[in-house]
């Protein structure tokens, strides 16, 4: 059974990654799952300077999902490179770095800092974080800006670049096309959907940041549709995710057009999910007579 994937130049030993912001810097879950066995570990969104993140409450459970407004808390790219990356490299984890900037120049600067760092397989561009005032989503909702961010980053690095698209747009295919024009090597989709909750006793929004991002099974149909759409219009491999909690979900994403999948909120439910999924997928493939995961990619398109 061939489960290897080439995701825009990143060689993955298997097609299941863990999503940024849900797996820390890769070792927090190491008592439960060996990160080096996971297809790729996409580490927490990192910015040029340290960020404290948003005031609490930062998370809230909703039906079959959750809202989060972490606000990109992170120690900054230098600390990531100095303190976290060496440990991941030592364990031979396939690391995809996730960066968010305040300006096109900042994205480019961070890409140049990642360039040449041993142990980084690729860069995911977070142009879709709904929880920060600057950086993130405003770079991901206008096609021309998307093209410029991706092009600016590509100029600074030879690493595969994977823009992460926001579902909070009217025409996801237009954004995906712009990313392709900018030189993207693959696309990651989807980030969280904007949402909120209200506490009727306090008569106030629940989240400290008022708005948050919705993730988990609740968003799966939205993610699938967007991936299906983009697969038709853009000739780039897709890292698909949004609500995956079992191998059936994952198979749906491959069939919609994802070349690899990512698990976010599902890690919180079952920290071993990224590897357990593979067993279920392999069993399905065996029974149905498939010998390579690539045969499934986009198979639902008629």
């Amino acid at each position: 059974m061939d489960l290897t994937v080439n995701l825009g130049g990143i060689k993955l030993k298997n097609p299941v990654a863990v999503a940024s912001g849900t797996f820390g810097y890769g070792l927090e879950y190491a008592d439960f799952i060996e990160p080096e066995k996971i297809g790729a570990v996409i580490v927490k969104g990192t910015t040029l300077h340290p960020r404290p993140g948003n005031p609490g409450p930062r998370i809230y459970e909703t039906p079959a999902g959750m809202l989060n407004a972490i606000g990109l808390e992170n120690p900054g790219i230098e600390v990531f490179l100095r303190e976290y990356l060496p440990r991941l490299r030592e364990r031979q984890v396939t690391v995809i770095s996730n960066i968010a900037g305040n300006s096109i120049e900042e994205y480019a600067l961070m890409a140049s800092l990642l360039q040449g760092q041993e142990g980084i397989a690729g860069i995911e561009l977070n142009i879709s974080c709904p929880n920060v005032k600057q950086g993130g989503i405003q770079f991901g909702t206008d096609p021309e800006t998307v093209r410029q961010v991706v092009a600016a980053v590509k100029k600074e690095t030879s690493l595969p670049v994977i823009p992460k698209l926001s579902p909070n747009v009217t025409d996801i295919a237009a954004i995906a096309l712009a990313a392709a024009e900018g030189g993207a090597d693959a696309l990651s989709m989807i980030n969280t959907l904007g949402g909120m909750a209200i506490d009727i006793n306090r008569r106030k929004p629940v989240l400290g940041n008022v708005f948050g991002g919705l993730s988990g099974p609740a968003i799966k149909p939205v993610a699938l549709k967007m991936i299906y759409q983009v697969y038709r219009e853009v000739d780039l491999p897709i890292l698909g995710g949004g609500g995956i909690v079992n191998h059936i979900d994952a198979l749906e994403f491959f069939m919609a057009g994802a070349a690899a999948v990512s698990i976010g909120t599902g890690n919180f439910v079952n920290p071993c999910l990224a590897l357990e999924l593979l067993e279920g997928m392999e069993k399905y493939m065996q029974e149905q007579g498939f010998s390579s995961i690539q045969e499934l990619v986009g198979i639902a398109h008629t």
């Binding site: 879950y29 008592d31 079959a64 989060n68 972490i70 890690n267 919180f268 439910v269 920290p271």
Partner: protein, 262 residues
């Protein structure tokens, strides 16, 4: 090292109103437990509710590989937990978090537990007694039927003083320092542990400060990952700090001199 385990439910029963005690058999997990740590449990195999819930270690019997959990039914997750039957499996992850520290030499310790805040303090009391410490436990509840831990606390040889809001047992009133001023004036407390509503713990933090007594408190917060990966359970240790601590990883137990309660 913490692990994932399918624990077997030995018993799960309502004690009073919305208060339940569940006993589970968890050979892998039980032997790793320290007082003040928590288990991250899944209350149902479905998708709603989705996230795990943190529950304190109420009591642990390492020899028998048994763990007891004391919980209050407050929402969907705990309601489903209450419906689980003996013989069924409970999906647990743990033990997680930083627990209480135990004194190196025997001390006179004050334990202050409000309501289900007693949950992490019983196992602590057991381990403290094993270490030869002398314990005064202040136990505050609404009415005497909620004093679920009382028998076990007395059985391990701690001195217990009770406060009930309705006056059905012990002193009448909330679990705050003035109510116990007479009792405490005759004691030489060397260390304080507390868990319960934060407004109550804040008053005990002030009391400990005035009396130059060191101590620890256990905090509660909604959590997603439970291991410091998602940064969801954040709070500021002090209001003017720039950065946040994570209850799941930096806590749930904090030293009184590490944070300012609100």
């Amino acid at each position: 090292m913490p692990s994932l385990e399918k624990a077997r439910i030995i018993s799960n029963s309502k004690q009073y109103h919305n208060l339940y005690i569940m006993e589970i058999e968890a050979p892998k997990t039980a032997k790793q437990c320290k007082p003040g740590q928590f288990l991250h449990i899944r209350s149902n195999p479905g998708l709603d509710p989705l996230l795990r819930r943190p529950l304190s270690l109420y009591d642990v019997d390492k020899k028998a590989a048994k763990i007891s959990l004391l919980y209050k039914v407050v929402g969907k997750g705990t309601a489903l937990l209450a419906d689980m039957l003996p013989g069924e499996n409970l999906d647990i992850m743990g033990p997680l978090g930083r627990g209480f520290s135990l004194p190196e030499s025997a001390k006179k310790c004050l334990l202050v537990g409000g309501g289900v805040g007693m949950a992490p303090l019983l196992y602590l009391a057991r381990e403290l007694r094993r270490g030869g410490n002398e314990l005064l436990v202040l136990y505050g509840v609404g009415n005497e039927k909620e004093l679920l831990a009382l028998e076990r606390l007395e059985a391990i040889g701690s001195q217990v003083q009770i406060a009930t809001i309705d006056g059905s047992r012990g002193l009448k009133g909330p679990l705050i320092p003035p109510l116990f001023s007479e009792i405490l004036s005759n004691e030489r407390i060397e260390f304080i542990y507390s868990c319960g509503p934060e407004s109550m713990m804040k008053l005990w933090q002030e009391w400990a400060g005035i009396n130059h007594i060191a101590g620890e408190v256990s905090l509660e917060e909604y959590m997603a990952c439970g291991v410091g990966a998602c940064l969801g359970c954040a709070r500021k240790a002090r209001p003017d700090n720039e950065f946040y601590v994570k209850i799941c990883k930096d806590g749930p137990v904090f030293r009184l001199d590490e944070l300012e309660l609100e």
